[in-house]
Point group: C3
Chain length 147, copies 3
Amino acid sequence: MDKLICREFTPGRRFMGRLPHGKDIIGVIETFCKENSVRTATFSLIGAVSAATLGAYDQKQLVYVTFREKAALEILSCIGNISLKEGSPFVHAHIVLGDEQGKVIGGHLFSETVIFAGEIEIRELTGPRLERAYDPATGLALWAPGV
Amino acid sequence: MDKLICREFTPGRRFMGRLPHGKDIIGVIETFCKENSVRTATFSLIGAVSAATLGAYDQKQLVYVTFREKAALEILSCIGNISLKEGSPFVHAHIVLGDEQGKVIGGHLFSETVIFAGEIEIRELTGPRLERAYDPATGLALWAPGV
Amino acid sequence: MDKLICREFTPGRRFMGRLPHGKDIIGVIETFCKENSVRTATFSLIGAVSAATLGAYDQKQLVYVTFREKAALEILSCIGNISLKEGSPFVHAHIVLGDEQGKVIGGHLFSETVIFAGEIEIRELTGPRLERAYDPATGLALWAPGV
């Protein structure tokens, strides 16, 4: 595989919503998707958190290294997608956070990351089944090579 | 409220445009929305600024702390939404900026943030009225709990 | 020009795909667009890189200053657009990268920036021809003033 291989989708439902204060970002998005039968989607989110668990992938050891911030931080950007993993809607998202001096940190988004306030746009996609499977080259759960 | 509560929208007009050199980001977007009757939308923007006013929300004092950067910076990401506040189109956006060494700052976007160059995609949404109102739990103007 | 001037587009095809390990981000997106006749689009991308070439525009000298990072970094955000430059699909994108401590850098995305893994959403737009041309005020190749 040396090209960008894409599958084509049709725009589905478009949702705008407010995230609940004090809850986990990933948990609330995955619950929403299960309850509303959203199997494939992309989303964008801005807001603020009161604590965050972030990580980065160690490309040699093939494991995620995580770290936790217990601080009030703005969500400067949180973009991600929803696809299926073991048959259930699964969130993959990366987040950028900033403090009161404008200092920025970021990483792969993990639970528990606690919402202070947040506004999300979810763009559903309908079409082929997009399911994650183990990829030996990276050790990650990626979409199948034919996507 | 302990769930993500969303309202469903239908995609409206899709705009691509170039921001005017030397003007304020929020001002030009809000003026465009008023003149084109855009009540609800999301947007993404990249480009560069010659000065920026950013902030973060103090989650204990319930006030925004702002700071100003008078520097030439790339807009690495600026994502946000447009909804109604006191009946008029209102921009809520967060921005990430970078300098020539790749150093990054970011925050809640305030006026005056001066465009050097910028390219924006505005994705209009049609559907229910999305209006901001005072939220006592956070002190912010958020969309109503039922969204 | 002191206003945001936009052109209106119609949503076209929507693609979700996985970027090839070890290849250049801009190269694979531009090749995909050429092969699939995508002339205008926006995209969002998350993932990781094994090396990156970034830059920022020097607003006085009117040249890009670039720098190179040879490190494993998460793509926290990469948003951009595709339009025509000299008749071919051309990527304009900005990227935010993070390391295992959450430290963040970012800039205008240049080749060679090498994919470790990546997931992209491409949102095609159909409508007027969006072509870049030299802009004397900034020295950049921007969309025509009437956009």
